[in-house]
């Protein structure tokens, strides 16, 4: 239709202009945006807005997704809570605890005068009732396994017994809670920060049943109260005046805009509707341009999370350790990290991120992860010189642009370096999970994020009986080492055992480690208190605006980091009576 040409041409040209303008990295534009960000001082109101993915439940006992957890960690608080940044857990409902010499019996002492947000007294009995509720199969809690460290918890949760008295948690009096553990767990004080360990108000749960988490009924004990919950739209938190430390909470209100789309979250931030991306990630294709622009509000912090592929070790050709090692050595992870991911993710040689140096004095095993010659040699030894005779191997990943890119890098590296043909299959998350759990794959996309901040969490996942051990890896030697770690309480022998387990795992190679995650986010420069945290937990009670002195420093290009609270001095948290 020739008559339509002029205006169609105009249309194509204008869309073209739009695209070119949006793709270009104009240094002036970047500098202007930075200047603009540093011109925006903190608002007068103490209202903090952030984005988050949508949540399904709000019941701390049943929350499975990170979105709900991040939100409700500000509404409910356990015995201890997360520090500001990486540091030991800080006292919350409890002031301190004692451990028996064998590390099995923990006695927590609760604060005096604790109340729920409706004024009802909060006692040690609330904890006993709440923990039993989490473990009750009828609650069907996804996070109940976090409580399996407690003696008797696993049997009760698995339905082997129906007597809640068999769980070793007891209230000695209103303010003393005694817990007996299954095996020494040096990180139990970190575990009780988890939402699953938070108390839930018995009187409210029993009155309202499944509806108890609706804002009109909800009674909580954390620094904030949930005052509005519009599923998939927004949630609003407001300061809890009955919180024991309400005086030191800066924010009056927190507005959480909900979207499952990373791009939407980024747009909200860029137009000023939110001050933080919250738990939404930056879209993978936006990271390079933001890095290139040296954005003053961009942060990238390491995280206790590893991206790897499970290798099905019980079927050919991957049942040959030499083939697995060859695959491992033929992938250039540094290049993947630098040119594809571009978010500063460290390349991974093992499943363990090297983030336990400060807290545990443990440095993760470093192994050579890229050696093409050795890879070719190993493959030839296994009987497949230059990949001849090796059938195509299927790589299974879940749908998503990032996943596909990574899979294609591997596909190309293995073909270029080894002559190994990899077919890439992509399935939606639920369908892929079904195949992983059934063991119906050769190379399957997996990842592991720490359940608790201890190296053990990155080893337990490869035990023979671990649910997320998709690769069918069964090593009695490895299992015995993990059991020995569980039983050991002294730091140095424990670290030696952890190293031993890492070496076994690296020898047997039931996986292809790829990289450790980073948490890349945008936050307004005047927001203080969101310190890097390796478990990505950021209690909003620490958030405040920069003071004028701090603001001057920020504007001169400085980054303000507040140290974690020292736990020896819990008095720092006490407000005036």
């Amino acid at each position: 239709m020739p008559r339509a040409l002029p205006s169609s041409w105009w249309f194509v040209a204008s869309v073209g202009c739009l695209l070119i303008a949006s793709c270009g990295h104009d240094p002036d534009v970047a500098a202007r945006r930075n200047a603009q960000l540093l011109d925006q001082a903190a608002p007068r109101t103490r209202v903090f807005s952030l984005a988050s993915s949508a949540h399904e439940f709000l019941d701390p006992a049943r929350i499975a997704e990170t979105a709900g957890q991040h939100l409700m960690l500000n509404v409910f608080e356990g015995l201890y809570t997360y520090n500001r940044g990486d540091g030991p857990p800080v006292p919350a409902m409890a002031t301190h605890h004692e451990q028996s010499p064998d590390g099995l019996v923990w006695t927590f002492h609760l604060r005096e005068g604790l109340v729920w947000s409706d004024g009802t007294a909060l006692t040690a009995r609330d904890f006993v009732w709440s923990w039993r509720r989490v473990l009750d199969p009828k609650t069907a809690s996804r996070s109940a396994q976090l409580l399996w460290f407690i003696k008797g918890a696993k049997a009760f949760h698995a339905g082997e017994t129906t007597d809640p008295e068999t769980i070793a948690v007891h209230a000695l009096d209103d303010r003393t809670l005694q817990v007996t553990l299954d095996h020494p767990t040096p990180f139990f004080d970190e575990l009780v920060c988890e939402l699953a360990y938070a108390p839930t108000p018995r009187h409210v749960v029993e009155r309202w049943g499944l509806d108890w988490t609706r804002p009109e009924h909800l009674v909580s004990n954390g620094p904030f109260l949930l005052v509005e919950d519009q599923p998939r739209v927004r949630a609003t938190l407001r300061r809890n005046h009955r919180y024991f430390d309400a005086y030191s909470v800066f924010l009056d209100e927190v507005r959480v805009l909900l979207s499952d789309d990373d791009q939407t979250a980024l747009d909200w931030y860029e137009v000023g509707r939110t001050q933080w991306l919250g738990d939404r990630a930056l879209p993978i294709d936006k990271v390079p341009s933001l890095l290139g622009a040296r954005r003053v509000d961009l942060r990238s912090d390491p995280k206790l999370c590893t991206y790897y592929y499970s290798l099905r070790v019980d079927r050919p050709p991957l049942n040959d350790p030499r083939v697995r090692r060859a695959l491992m050595l033929a992938i250039d992870r540094e290049r993947l990290s630098r040119h594809v991911l571009r978010g500063g993710q460290p390349a991974a040689g093992t499943a363990m991120p090297d983030l336990f140096g400060a807290s545990h004095g443990y440095h993760a095993l470093q192994v050579p992860s890229y050696d093409v010659e050795r890879a070719q040699q190993l493959l030839a030894e296994a009987g497949y010189p230059k990949g001849v005779g090796l059938p195509p191997i299927e790589l299974l990943h879940n749908t998503g642009d990032g996943q596909r890119l990574i899979a294609e890098v591997i596909q190309r590296d293995l073909w270029d370096h080894l002559g190994v043909r990899v077919t890439v299959a992509s399935q939606e998350w639920g369908s892929m999970l079904k195949r992983l759990l059934a063991g119906d794959f050769a190379i399957g996309r997996s990842s592991w994020c720490a359940d608790y901040p201890d190296p053990l969490t990155f080893l337990e996942v490869f035990r023979s009986d671990a649910e997320a051990n998709y690769s069918g890896y069964r090593s009695p030697e490895f299992d015995a080492t993990v059991d020995a770690i569980r039983a050991e309480t002294r730091r140095d022998p424990r670290n030696a055992l952890i190293r031993k387990a890492e070496v076994i795992l690296d020898r047997d190679l039931p996986y292809l480690p790829m990289f450790h995650y980073t948490n890349t986010t945008l936050v307004r420069p005047y927001v203080i208190g969101l310190e890097p945290h390796r478990e990505d937990k950021h209690p909003l009670k620490y958030v405040r605006w920069a003071t004028s002195a701090e603001w001057l420093r920020i504007r001169s290009g400085e980054r303000i980091h507040l140290p974690p609270f020292a736990v020896a001095a819990p008095a720092e948290f006490e407000g005036p009576p």
Partner: protein, 384 residues
């Protein structure tokens, strides 16, 4: 006319049943279940969830006795008559418990040595597809749409749809209204001035917009008006609230959808009117001395609108489908979002609810369109 409407409504019910059955089968055929996670749940928890949602049911022990051992394992599918467990009776004799029918085991209750009374739960089995299908249909027929799996019972399907449906309905109505308001006059106006430069520009622009579809238009409008110019906010939707604050986030999504349909309506009206204006009865009307205004507005336009009204049926369907894209792009908490998440979560009750709501809406819209067409064109009224 009444008989016609009644017959169509009856056909609609049959269509709904077919749609529901197909959806049920499709969701059940999809791999993965509603309660799957990266870590599998313990059997006891899985069995409890299954039983509360009708996906599993208890198999009672037929006799009293002490459990000696189970002869099956969790996940196993056994046929009728297979030995499930061995019990020791109080008189010292042994009794075998056999599967009363073909079944798949979800949970084995208790350890060997457990003392059972007759009727105590011995194990939990999956319910069959047919059974689930019949239960679903019965509860639907009695008006109970159930609870969503994803919320594990804390939200009902009606509640979730009740939140989302008004949003999508308002989006569709506003977009359709705006599209008609803009598209029809524009089409009529260009038809009266064929081959003028305004006609060329409008026709070309309409063609461009129609070919772009919402898939392209939505992100482009969002980037220009939302992100660069920052004239309009987006995200969120307060159904049927029209204060300026609540209206603002509605403008972009409504405009996107309306623009595409306005272009369609303009093209249809223009073509229809050009056709009609050449008809002998229009010439006759002119010959009787009616003014041009009367000829166009009272006679010609009425005939020209039949294709437009006929297109309303597909337009409503298209709006429903197109709004999934628009809702996703502009973060509108409508049915599109419900649809996608429900399907990904294998949330059968919610998927069924959403599909049936859509289907019912489409059936009613098509019926309304047919009635309207008959009212516009006398010749259609005689059609069977």
């Amino acid at each position: 006319m009444t008989a016609f409407v009644l017959r169509r409504l009856l056909q609609g019910v049959v269509t709904l049943w077919v749609v529901a059955s197909l959806t049920f089968v499709l969701v059940r055929l999809t791999p993965g279940g509603p309660f799957d996670g990266a870590k599998p749940l313990p059997d006891a928890v899985r069995a409890h969830l299954g039983r509360s949602f009708g996906l599993a049911e208890a198999v009672p022990s037929p006799v009293a006795g002490t459990l000696d051992h189970f002869q099956v394992h969790v996940g196993q599918s056994v046929s009728q008559g297979t030995v499930l467990a061995r019990l020791r009776l109080s008189d010292g004799s042994e009794s075998l418990v056999r599967a009363p029918r073909d079944l798949t085991i979800v949970q084995l209750v208790g350890q060997p040595g457990r003392v059972l009374r007759a009727g105590d739960v011995l194990l939990v089995r999956e319910t069959s597809w047919l059974q689930q299908y019949l239960t679903t249909l019965t509860s639907w027929a009695s008006g109970d749409l159930g609870v969503t799996y994803a919320s594990e019972g804390s939200r009902t399907v009606v509640e979730q749809l009740g939140d989302a449906a008004p949003v999508s309905l308002e989006l569709a109505l506003l977009a359709l209204g705006l599209a008609l308001l803009v598209g029809v006059p524009l089409g009529a106006w260009t038809a009266l001035r064929p081959r003028s430069w305004l006609d060329h520009v409008t026709t070309a622009a309409a063609l461009a917009v129609v070919s772009m579809s919402t898939l392209v238009l939505a992100p482009v409008l969002l980037v220009v008006f939302g992100v660069w110019l920052q004239w309009l906010p987006w995200g969120g939707w307060e159904p049927f609230a029209f204060s300026w604050e609540h209206l603002q986030p509605k403008i972009l999504p409504v405009a996107t959808l309306a623009l595409v349909y306005a272009a369609w309506f303009a093209r249809l009206t223009r073509a229809g009117l050009l056709d009609v204006l050449g008809e002998p009865w229009v010439r006759a009307a002119r010959a009787r001395g009616l003014t041009e205004r009367q000829v166009v507005l009272r006679h010609a336009l009425r005939g020209a609108l039949v294709p437009v009204v006929a297109f309303l049926g597909p337009a409503v369907a298209g709006l429903a489908a197109g709004s999934v894209v628009v809702e996703r792009v502009f973060a509108v908490p409508g049915m599109g979002d419900v649809f996608v998440t429900a399907a990904l979560n294998r949330d059968l009750p919610l998927v069924l609810g959403a599909v049936l709501l859509y289907a019912a809406g489409l059936i009613l819209a098509n019926l309304a369109v047919d009635v309207a067409c008959a009212a516009l064109d006398p010749r259609l009224r005689r059609a069977p």
